[in-house]
Amino acid sequence: MIQLTRRYRFPAAHVLAQPSFSAEQNRAIYGKCANPAGHGHNYGIEVTVIGPLDPESGRIIDPDQLDAIFESRIAARFAHRSLNADPAFARRVPTAENLAQVIHSELAPAIEGAGTARLARVRVVETRRNSFVYGEME
């Protein structure tokens, strides 16, 4: 079985706070990540696709096409922005877990619509010490 992974990066800000909780409760749950003014990360996003090799191009997916999908669906929306301002996080706390699920749900239909490849999983590398993966593992 063959899988292709492409890594992207974007910087973004967020505040981890559940709006229905008090400031004290949020500080207790999220610690310094609940700082109301926010903080940010250089997010690394690893996008893994699977599928048959196109006999002409010898590829699972054209990486330029994958780049264009990521740019229009994800980077244009989240890079150099506050994740909290995005409608996807109006009711969800912008944790890396939720970010991985949001990115997966945005990319999956676009990748399937582009050809014969299918999105397997999305890994969000929030810092060098934290990463989160959502989707099929192997």
Partner: protein, 139 residues
């Protein structure tokens, strides 16, 4: 083999030049199909080879890493390091050296050279931002 399986990974790095081309197409058609990758370019590849097995009860090793390194030197480094994938090998006469195709060539070479059933997976990184994983099914 079952619960006592151990996986070990050895990495090598090599540098190769390449261009994407199909022999039946003209230069213009190849440029249209493959874009900038139809031009001669190069990569610093990183290959991670993962083997699986039960440690030998006496040596405690799945495979002698010295032997694995010699095998990787012979099968991979000697063929591809500081070589041109199109001109110095005959693997890409009919298909372009995409990471997918190159990964399948390396997988074939290693399956033929390694003890049967020992290859678990390979990861071929073309650069820090693009790689393929080829995973062998368990028996």
């Amino acid at each position: 083999m079952g619960c006592d399986l151990v996986r070990l990974t050895r990495a090598i790095e090599f540098s190769s030049s390449l261009r994407y081309a199909r022999p039946e197409l003209s230069a213009e058609q190849n440029a249209r199909l493959f874009g900038r990758r139809a031009s001669q370019h190069g990569h610093n590849y990183r290959l991670e080879v993962t083997l699986r097995g039960e440690p030998d009860p006496v040596t405690g090793m799945v495979i002698d890493l010295k032997h694995l390194q010699e095998l990787l030197e012979r099968e991979i480094m000697a063929r591809f390091d500081h070589r041109d994938l199109n001109r110095d090998t005959d693997f890409f006469e009919k298909e372009p050296p995409t990471p997918e195709n190159f990964g399948r060539v390396i997988e074939r070479l290693l399956l033929a050279a390694l003890p049967a059933g020992s290859l678990d997976r390979i990861r071929l990184q073309q650069d820090e931002d693009l790689w393929v994983d080829l995973i062998e099914p368990l028996p």
